[in-house]
């Protein structure tokens, strides 16, 4: 319906441009809510951690502090963007964009419900994995271009950490695609339909679910894996030299990545847009709402972790990634391979 209206209003354009306008409009409809939720996620983090630490959190700007994100954005916009004198100017300015762009681009293949997906491509799971692995360039380039010891140390830590956890993450996804028999996120969710919460992949793939989420926390450089920032050791790590909007873009990228990982966890292990129980009162709620609710619930864990766990030591991070998470995924891939074909009850995941 909206599509017809858009095509009617732009009927003076050639058809290829009409499609372009329509796709651009869809991108705006995905990105604006995403940026808004990123803004409110920062407020949620401060509020949630505030209450966990018996504080109130921000409560001055607007009712109950609800306009705090806009005040923060306004402040950061008006600050001067400082460029360190011996830094590499172009790379210094490109780095925040390199870190934000993949976090947004991955939403192109995200199925919000059975029909609501911008690009329903065949290998969307791989596409998302490839894009999340590119986010590390923002961190590395920022650390190197700043020409600062702390920033460089943060970048090196981040590079080693992300390469290690990406392998565990990839193997966890191999398990998911073996179970679903597809690389398409929409089909992965549809493969989990049937009997509500009981048929979600979090049960048969429980170890992979845990490994994926832990790796996701590590990939986003969040506590307890935030050695790339490590305030107490290297001040702010890779973005120590950034001010104003440069810093704001890194901040945005971190939170957008958190929401992305939460959304992917929901799609692959928690049944995406499917309701908890597939009967009347639950099926009345639209799929987009279910997707949003589940994503928020998973995203809450990121905040909870930050308020709960102390930061890992660097060697502990490497040990967890290489010696615990990767072997667990390898064993479970083998288990899925057997369960798919040779069980007393016939194949699982049909």
């Amino acid at each position: 319906m909206i599509r017809d209206a858009v095509f009617y209003m732009t009927s003076w354009l050639p058809e290829s441009l009409q499609i372009l306008v329509w796709v651009m409009l869809k991108i705006v409809f995905i990105l604006v809510p995403l940026i808004l939720s990123v803004a409110y996620f920062t407020l949620a983090e401060r509020k949630v951690i505030g209450y966990m630490q018996l504080r109130v959190g921000p409560n001055r700007v607007g009712p109950k502090g609800l306009f705090q994100p806009f005040a923060d954005v306004g402040k950061l916009l008006m600050k001067e963007v400082l460029i360190p004198s011996k830094s590499n100017k172009y790379l210094f300015l490109i780095a925040p964009i390199l870190s934000l762009a993949p976090a947004f681009a991955a939403w192109a293949v995200m199925p919000f419900s059975d029909q609501l997906v911008l690009a329903d491509i065949d290998a969307s799971l791989l596409y998302v994995l490839a894009l999340t692995s590119m986010g590390v360039y923002g961190v590395i380039v920022a650390g190197w271009a700043s020409n600062s010891k702390y920033a460089f140390l943060g970048a090196m830590r981040s590079a080693a950490q992300i390469v290690a956890y990406e392998i565990a993450m990839g193997f966890a996804l191999v398990g998911v695609l073996m179970a679903a028999g597809s690389l398409n996120l929409r089909e992965i969710v549809l493969a989990q339909s049937g009997s509500g919460i009981a048929s979600w992949y979090m049960w048969p793939l429980f170890p992979l679910f845990i490994v994926y989420f832990i790796s996701g926390v590590a990939e986003t450089n969040r506590a307890p894996f935030d050695v790339a920032e490590g305030e107490s050791e290297i001040v702010a790590g890779f973005h120590v030299e950034y001010s104003g909007m440069g810093f704001a873009l890194f901040f945005l990228a971190e939170y957008a990545n958190m929401i992305l990982i939460a959304a992917l966890t929901v799609l692959m292990f928690l049944g995406g847009w499917l309701p908890i129980i597939e009967t009347a009162p639950f099926t009345w709620i639209p799929g987009v709402m279910w997707f949003g609710l589940k994503t928020s619930a998973v995203a809450f864990f990121f905040l909870w972790f930050r308020a709960t766990f102390p930061r890992y030591r660097y060697d502990q991070i490497m040990r967890l990634g290489w010696k615990i998470l990767i072997p667990v995924t390898l064993v479970w891939i083998f288990v899925i391979g057997i369960a798919k074909f040779y069980t007393p009850f016939g194949g699982f995941f049909s």
Binding site: I121, D122, A123, L126, S133, V136, Y137, M156, A159, V163
Partner: protein
């Protein structure tokens, strides 16, 4: 010119530019970053050829992992550019001969009837055609032995790399984590019971 052709020319231009910068730029880190750009635009060209699985795997493996490690090493090295450029004039004749040979070979192929008429593009597949599935079927049926042999060679390389670099370091402060977890209170804490002593000021007062 269709949109697809426009994409092809754009990404090819970026690819050629990036590849040229890889060898000409002075800073090794920048040249590694241009190599990343080259890989990325190559992946974009592959996508226009409907090889989306290969394209995404190229980004995932080379851009996402290999080049990150490569940058990691290049950033840590202190490379002296003067030493690297010292033999430029000496190797220039050999290099140009190789380059001319390559250009000649490509030119020979181009003149000997390699046109879009003699090798027409295969028909475009439908939207439901799964590239990854076809590739998987081929690898695990027709090419299963070469594929497994390649896997074994890679495994040997991994084992060899670890065996070559692994060494016992006597000065390492490594602690076995399971021992750390197993520790209990008695290993770390000793409660000493002792009698209370009289207050010092009373003692002083008593002596005086």
């Amino acid at each position: 010119m269709t949109f697809l052709q426009l994409c092809f020319y754009f990404f090819s231009a970026v690819l050629v530019f990036a590849a040229g910068m890889v060898v000409t730029v002075r800073n090794p880190v920048k040249s590694a970053l241009f190599l990343v750009l080259a890989f990325f635009s190559a992946a974009c060209i592959w996508i226009t050829l409907e090889a989306e699985f290969l394209a995404i795997v190229l980004v995932l493996v080379y851009v996402g992992a290999v080049m990150v490690l490569f940058l990691f090493v290049v950033m840590m090295l202190d490379i002296d550019l003067a030493v690297m450029r010292a033999g430029f004039t000496r190797y220039l004749p050999v290099g140009s001969v190789v380059a001319l040979l390559l250009i000649g070979e490509i030119a020979l192929v181009m003149i000997s009837g390699f046109t879009s008429e003699s090798f027409p593009a295969p028909a475009a597949h439908g939207a439901d055609y799964s590239n990854s599935k076809e590739l998987g079927l081929l690898i695990y049926t027709v090419y299963v032995y070469p594929f497994e042999i390649a896997a074994i060679i890679l495994l040997v390389a991994i084992v060899a790399a670890i065996a070559l670099t692994m060494r016992r370091r006597p000065d390492s402060k490594y602690i076995n984590p399971s021992e750390q977890v197993k520790v209990n209170r008695d290993d770390r804490l000793r409660i000493v019971k002792m009698k209370s002593e009289p207050k010092p000021d009373q003692q002083i007062g008593g002596d005086a």
